[in-house]
């Protein structure tokens, strides 16, 4: 996966190293948390960082909101920013945009301090905030063209229509945005963020209000932007399913601290593994558990009326169940076990006394606590 991502990123921005400066060559991430998602296999080359936050401490309205945040988003990477309500995710985004001044810590956006960087730097990022903030009386096409002017990259009507098509708003509605459904508004907000072909996309709950098809379409779009164009994506969401579906890395914030950061697969356990309990209403066929099964799964536990299996990475549960049923397995129910990202996240964010751990320690501790995947 990474092997084809690095060249794609390089093709998208051949001057990446020159533009991102020191951050492109000096990655502060410890190797343990950077993980495989951060390093091109066999090359030892780290993809350039688009956003790097270290030891961020921010106070708002005399209250400390961020205490120690670290976050890194590399080119061509989708990073999920997770945390309970009030953990400081939106504040982290504001600091990344240079809209808040940290008390301590360091923020680098494309290798530069966003507080002192030239305004043009912001044309390289796209933002989808939690609220849409659309201009209600404008049509989608007019609005995108207007926004492109603000970003200093004018857009023709055809290009605007193509962008709307890309986010699933085709044909472009002639209505003013005030009459859009919630899903249409989110799509337009995403199109607005893409208007200047950003290198970094920051999205705060982008799938809110989208129907399942729209949600899948948007996630595919984000993944495609990262894979094909080398766009770095920071996805701030509460939907763990979305994170599991497209994120390469995650950072978990709890009470203003990063308690885990790194490659999703490494943090959660074996990337992509899935454990299920199959309830049986009869005995298994005699050869069911014979060695050398071609199915992408292994049995981890067996009882009289239930069997626990773990699917291999990439296996589609529905296909496996269908094959098993054809083979005579008396399956009456398949239930996913509480494991993976959800258990990892819940373990990290469980209320209780706060023991600010070092990020790497926290990540490995949380991974161990997550149990089912260890």
């Amino acid at each position: 996966m990474m092997q084809d991502r690095i060249p794609a990123a390089a093709a998208f921005a051949p001057d990446a190293v020159a533009r991102t400066g020191p951050a492109a060559t000096k990655d502060p991430r410890p190797p343990s948390s950077a993980g495989p998602g951060k390093q091109a296999a066999g090359t030892g080359i780290l993809p350039p960082l688009l956003l790097a936050i270290e030891g961020l401490r921010v106070r708002r309205a005399a209250r400390p909101v961020l205490r120690d945040v670290r976050l890194h988003v590399a080119r061509g990477e989708v990073c999920g920013l997770l945390g309970p309500n009030g953990a400081g995710k939106t504040t982290t985004i504001l600091a990344a945009l240079g809209l808040l001044v940290p008390e301590t810590g360091r923020v680098r956006l494309f290798g530069e301090d966003p507080l002192t960087a030239p305004d043009a730097l912001r044309a390289r990022l796209g933002l989808v905030p939690e609220g849409d903030g659309l201009t209600e009386w404008m049509t989608a096409g007019d609005y995108l063209q207007h926004w492109a002017l603000l970003q200093g990259r004018p857009l023709g009507p055809e290009e605007a229509a193509a962008l709307l098509d890309e986010v699933g708003l085709a044909p472009p509605p002639r209505l003013p945005a005030a009459r859009f459904s919630q899903g249409m508004r989110r799509r337009l907000a995403v199109a607005r963020a893409l208007v200047a072909s950003p290198e970094l996309l920051i999205l705060d709950e982008p799938t809110n209000g989208l129907d399942p098809r729209g949600r899948r379409q948007l996630l595919e779009l984000l993944r495609g932007l990262a894979r094909r164009r080398g766009v770095g994506v920071l996805l701030c969401t509460h939907l763990l399913e979305d994170v599991a579906r497209i994120c390469d890395t995650i950072a978990v914030l709890v009470e203003g601290r990063t308690v885990a950061e790194g490659a999703l697969g490494e943090l959660v356990g074996r990337a992509g593994s899935q454990r299920f309990r199959l309830r049986l209403d009869g005995p298994l066929p005699a050869e069911a558990l014979a060695r050398g099964s071609p199915l992408p799964m292994r049995v981890v536990h067996q009882a009289a009326d239930e069997i626990a299996v773990e699917l291999e990475p990439g296996a589609t549960p529905a296909t496996v169940w269908r094959t098993l049923l054809f083979s005579g397995w008396p399956i009456c129910e398949a239930r996913a076990e509480g494991g993976g990202l959800e258990a990892f996240y819940l373990a990290l964010t469980e209320p209780g006394p706060v023991h600010p751990p070092q990020p790497a320690e926290a990540a490995s501790q949380a991974a161990n606590d997550a149990g089912p995947v260890s």
């Binding site: 002639r174 209505l175 003013p176 009459r179």
Partner: protein, 191 residues
């Protein structure tokens, strides 16, 4: 000159207001107060409308001259407008008519001359005469220059035939535009 004396007294009473008692009784004396040794010339501006009507402006130019051989100090000159229509004789309150109501000159040398302009806005119809009076600190009885009378023709102030179309038409036009906009938006919505 005889005719101008009662006019001067009337002008003094009409325009000085609170200053009149002070001038009259500040220094009680058996001797009559002295007349100002000044010459006042008053001429209308050639550009004034020949047939003025309400709302027009008229200008008058004044020349104050000290013909005496001694200097005079504390010269005051002031404007007076008198309505002279029979049965409507009155001194006009200058508040709305003119922003130039009076002027002072600290000192005038013998033979010295000072000029000033007075601009009037014609507020009401009628026949009027403009006076400019001048007195000094030592000689409070003014010398007066008077203009010819002039008639101000009446004019309707606010004409309903001009106001009503605008006052009713503009909101209606904007309301129509708003309704059209809302209807178009609803049409788009239905489509």
């Amino acid at each position: 000159m005889k005719a101008s004396v009662p006019l001067a007294v009337l002008a003094l009473l009409a325009t000085l207001g609170p200053a009149v008692p002070r001038l009259a009784w500040a220094a009680p004396s058996a001797a009559p107060p002295a007349s100002a040794p000044l010459k006042v010339g008053l001429a209308p501006d050639p550009a004034n409308p020949a047939a003025p009507r309400m709302g027009d402006r008229m200008s008058f130019h004044t020349t104050l001259r000290n013909p005496a051989s001694a200097p005079v100090g504390g010269v005051m000159a002031w404007l007076t407008i008198l309505r002279v229509d029979a049965g409507h004789e009155e001194a006009i309150d200058l508040e709305d008519w003119s922003a130039n109501k009076a002027l002072t000159i600290p000192a005038m040398a013998p033979g010295g001359e000072a000029r000033s302009d007075w601009t009037l806005r014609l507020i009401s119809p009628g026949t009027y005469r403009v006076l400019v009076s001048a007195a000094t600190r030592a000689a409070p009885v003014p010398a007066v220059g008077a203009s010819e009378t002039f008639a101000v023709a009446p004019k309707p102030v606010v004409e309903s035939r001009r106001v009503l179309p605008v006052a009713l038409g503009l909101p209606l036009a904007l309301g129509g535009l708003l309704a059209l906009r809302l209807t178009m938006a609803k049409g788009d919505d239905d489509a």
